[in-house]
Amino acid sequence: MTLVELQQVEKTYHLGMSRIPALRDVNLTLDRGAFAAVWGPSGSGKSTLCNLVGTLDVPTGGRVIIAGQDVSRLGDDARADFRNRTLGFIFQTFNLIPVLSALENVMLPLQIPGTPGVQARPAAAGWLERLGLGTLLDHRPDQLSGGQRQRVAIARALVADPSLVVADEPTANLDSDTALEIVNLLRDINRDQGTTFLISTHDERLLGRVDRRILLRDGRIVEDTQMHSPGKGAP
């Protein structure tokens, strides 16, 4: 069942008088439960694609449809609400709020639409415990290691039970062992929860674990390879 559909999507940036095409005529569908990676050389348009699917940006042309809704036509507030309800994000640099504890960071996506703390707290704590951070709930980001921070970010991405998690280079700032842990963690969540992942990455270990690889070059999809059946990827 299709969750994400990109129809003839174009994205062009303007730098002074120059026009820089980042994506050209991209057509893509992503089914629910997919664990897909977008990969390619620097400047190929990976991040731009993730930003458009994540509704962080709007296309210059074409349509982005997520869960049946054309998000490219939504206003700013409606897109914000849509992101909060439907999407989770994992960033390369973790992007935790420095003044909040691990628990408070994970509670954020629930509290933004007004979920009371008494409901948000156990949900957030549950995810942190599940990701092995049960003893670090009150730690601030600067008291956590890189791997721990990324786990907090993953818990934050998942706490509101999103349909789709967009991860932009989630292992780029981690050492090898930690990166492998994170890759396995994402894979397990995909398998156990059925959460759909779209991951932008260079990481070969991550590429080896995904169900589908979408290769971008010069803003175009040049290769789209189904590696395994969704949800039954490599161990």
Partner: protein
């Protein structure tokens, strides 16, 4: 809201030095406005009370219509008759808001020590009424004895008071005799013996070599009349002045009575000028405080925004609306405003306490004695400045916060 509040407060605490600078700027602004405002209120109150009570001008003065414009040229035509005076006094004294109503007659003439003479302006007042008005002055003013010598008395019509300059010109001292010469209302020359009972400093420098306080009967005898040129009305409460003026004016008009009313504020030109001057100074101070506070808050919020562009991008990515981002920074500024105002209120109280403890004294304009310098705590300034600075801080934060909130999320997330 609690999440925004938590983020806002923790960011303020994280940048303690910067927050402290903004808090101190707001606090100093708050204290400056309240201390100067309190001093201005003290000055205005004393000027008002001195004019109303100490100088015996009361809250309201009733004249025959046209007296203030043409009364000097033809006093006989514009004085209140005895029956008018009695009728007005009876009406006024029956009113509950009136503390005292008394007739007065101002005269001009020449005063002599037997060898030299000079012109004088005499305020003819009922001595016991003038004393009652002076003693009713609030605070220190009511306890002042604004003359040297003895008080004038109702039963000593020849006993007069001379302003110090006038006494100096004629080399007259307390206990000396003098002769007052003036034309009667019929144009005849009249002369009366007087005894100097007191000397005083006139509230206005220009009058200090001309002013005499004389008993009403002395003025009447010199002018050869039993009439008065005004009725002075002192009220229980100053706030009753305007309502009573309007009511009396309407009553005079309805009855066709040819009287006109002036409030103490109408007659006290000096009060109005001093008040205007302080209002302008206060306005300048207020603008300076405004600029400093706005710049301080804008600078603080600008720096906070610049440092937290990525954080803003993250919050937006997680689904926070632009308005909530603006609210986040507005909350931070509001906290600066609240804490700054509270520190400012504390500073104002300390200055107030310090001034009360030190008890400095001075001679303010139109008050002729050394009195304590005070700073009043004015509730409307204390509360008004709090809400004003709070609103100002929040408004100042809005512009940089809106700019940051409107930034493209992708650019914000990529901000280094």
């Amino acid at each position: 809201m609690s999440t925004l509040f938590r983020i806002a407060m923790r960011n303020l605490l994280k940048n303690r030095r910067r927050s402290l600078t903004a808090v101190m700027a707001i606090a100093m602004g708050y204290a400056a406005v309240n201390v100067f405002g309190g001093f201005t209120r003290y000055i205005n109150s004393n000027l008002r009370d001195s004019f109303i009570y100490n100088q015996g001008n009361g809250h309201l003065s009733i004249f025959r219509e046209g007296f203030l414009e043409k009364g000097l040229l033809d006093p006989g035509k514009y004085l209140l008759t005895k029956s008018e005076t009695d009728s007005l006094l009876a009406t006024l004294r029956a009113r509950p808001e009136v503390f005292l109503a008394t007739p007065q007659l101002f005269i001009t003439g020449i005063v002599s020590n037997g060898a030299a003479s000079t012109i004088f302006i005499g305020a003819g007042r009922v001595p016991s009424d003038a004393d009652a008005m002076r003693q009713r002055a609030p605070g220190m003013l009511g306890r002042l004895t604004p003359f040297e010598g003895r008080a004038l008395r109702d039963d000593t019509p020849a006993g007069v008071g001379l302003s110090e300059g006038l006494a100096g010109l004629l080399d007259l001292k307390v206990g000396d005799g003098a002769i007052a010469v003036a034309p009667t209302i019929d144009g005849q020359i009249n002369a009366l013996d007087a005894e100097v009972l007191q000397t005083f400093e006139a509230a206005v420098d220009l009058l200090n070599d001309k002013l005499m306080y004389v008993p009403l009967q002395f003025a009447r005898d010199l002018f050869a009349t039993q009439r008065a040129d005004r009725i002075i009305v002192m009220l229980e409460h100053t706030s009753d002045t305007e309502p009573l003026r309007q009511e009396l004016e309407a009553a005079f008009h309805a009855r066709g009575q040819p009287f006109e009313l002036r409030t103490w504020e109408d007659l006290s030109q000096l009060y109005r000028k001093v008040r205007q001057m302080f209002d302008i100074i206060f306005l300048f101070l207020f603008i300076i405080v405004l600029v400093i506070s706005v710049m301080s808050v804008v600078n603080t919020v600008n720096m906070a925004v610049m440092e937290r562009i990525r954080e803003i991008g993250t919050l937006r990515a997680l689904g926070m609306r632009q308005t909530r981002i603006v609210l986040l920074f507005a909350l931070e500024s509001a906290a600066l405003g609240v804490v700054g105002s509270l520190v400012g209120a504390g500073s104002t109280l300390m200055v107030w306490f310090g001034v009360n403890l030190a008890e400095p004294t001075w001679v303010p304009p139109i008050i002729t004695a050394r009195i304590p310098l005070e700073i009043y705590l004015v509730p409307e300034y204390l509360i008004g400045a709090f809400f004003f600075l709070l609103a100002l801080a929040m408004t100042s934060a809005t512009f940089p916060a809106r700019r940051a909130a409107r930034q493209e999320i992708v650019d914000a997330l990529g901000h280094v």
